[in-house]
Amino acid sequence: MPTSKRLYGNRLAILAPLATVVVLASLALAFFQAPIEADQGFSQKIIYIHVPLAITTLIGFIYGGICAIQYLRSGNPRDDLRSYTAIHQSLIFCIGALLTGMIWAKASWGQWWVWDEPTLVSFLIVFLLYCTYQPLRFSIEDPERQSRYAAVFAVVAGAFVPLNFIAVRLADPLIHPRVLGTAEGGLTNGMKPAFYLGILGALLLFFTLCRYEMANKHTRAQLKALKRRFGQDAPARAGRSSAPEVPAQ
């Protein structure tokens, strides 16, 4: 079986340093250049981490849904892998957004959890829904069916995300600072560069981690193929995995 030399690594070699530089630059701007907010003081700085994480989470979940649609149309296992890694990484970012959101809530309202904060509550619901993605995959043995059902789940959940936000937001009085809506409400000019660079940094970090995970999966598949080529039997896996199997290129 021919193995390709061109892995994901070469693009990773550009993406990873770029993500590092942008994330560090946005943090530097946030801590040293952006003004201290009058109301909340230093604790307001967490928005430069919290909001980018939250936005990236949502983009990641919806990207996972789009890849799932592509998988259902094409049947290409790579699309399934893309969808899987996007959802996997978004789930990790979602935990980050929830934790930073809780820290922010503690700092500005004095409580770790506030129910009348619609965005945070929406994130919890979305988190609970996507937590079922891995158990669902895990409970289906046939790999092809696993991918297909996971794709159906990813599309349904991707559509669920905006609907859930509408429902939760309508249910609660608005107290969350609208950082992006309402004509740039809340953000002064001094804060904007750090904020937008923060979003860019989180997105770059997200795609770097996705690529990294995909490169990992492909390398493993190639290693398995090489072992098979040199007469070794691929080691029998103990137990099943919820991750999609990729064919070696």
């Binding site: 259902l72 829904l129 409970s139 794709a151 559509a159 509408i166 429902a167 309508l170």
Partner: protein, 248 residues
């Protein structure tokens, strides 16, 4: 009639007999729905369990909350938690008989649109939900609800129940079709249905809260619209995605 004419007249009939007759989606839906209802009528299982569960849940809520009467938001919460969990029982049974007895394979072999199966299953679940609500909601009013709603409020509550039921039936069918092919069917059904139902429960309890409070408040139109939007979007999604769940 001369011999060639007779031959011509018989040709279409014989060719018709060799090609399988195409059954319309509507007829197939009616057939599957009829099968489901007949099954439940001859060996009542799911409906009985759902009704008993609802009644027991009301008793449990009485003791757990230590309240003799409920009203407003608390009443809406108890009603919707009970109905959602009762629906979960029906959802869990939805495709089990078809898989165990080979009904699903039989359906897939038949030359009919797969949407018929989706429609029939959604309608079955809807019929089950309406049936247990006809028992559970009056029972709830009798046991726990203190200010009895007016006739107009009952009608509005029926509208809220219908809109929420459609959503639960669509989501339930989609998840049941997925979960029936997994190893941990019951676990997957519960953990998937509940988060997907949260927006429905938000809408339904917000809409029914004023109906269950003292006073003459009506259901806010905005929440009915949210429920209807949810039903519409998930209905379209289920229609688009169901084929992928029953492909093999």
């Amino acid at each position: 009639m001369s011999a060639p004419e007779q031959a011509r007249a018989t040709v279409p009939r014989s060719s018709q007999a060799s090609v399988p007759r195409q059954v319309g989606t509507l007829a197939a839906t009616r057939a599957v729905l009829g099968k489901e209802l007949r099954l439940e009528r001859r060996a009542p299982q799911t409906l009985v369990a759902m009704a008993i569960f609802s009644a027991t849940a009301f008793v449990i809520f009485h003791f757990a909350l230590q309240r003799d009467t409920l009203e407003g938001g608390l009443a809406a919460g108890v009603l919707w938690v009970t109905l959602t969990l009762a629906a979960l029982l029906g959802i869990g049974r939805s495709f089990v008989a078809d898989r165990d007895e080979g009904g699903l394979d039989g359906f897939l072999l038949a030359p009919v649109d797969r949407t018929a199966l989706l429609a029939a299953k959604v309608l079955t679940l809807l019929v089950f939900l309406v049936a247990i609500e006809l028992v559970a909601v009056p029972l709830f009013a009798l046991l726990l609800l203190e200010p009895t709603p007016s006739a107009g409020q009952w009608l509005q509550l029926a509208a809220v129940l219908a809109l929420a039921d459609i959503g639960i039936a669509v989501i339930g069918t989609l998840v049941a079709a997925m979960a029936v092919r997994t190893r941990a069917r019951d676990l997957i059904t519960s953990i998937l249905v509940l988060p997907l139902c949260i927006p429905l429960i938000i809408g339904a309890s917000q809409a029914s809260e004023p109906l269950l409070s003292a006073g003459t408040g009506g259901a806010p139109a905005r929440w009915l619209a949210v429920l209807a939007l949810y039903d519409l979007i998930f209905g379209l999604l289920a229609w688009a995605l169901f084929d992928y769940l029953v492909e093999d």
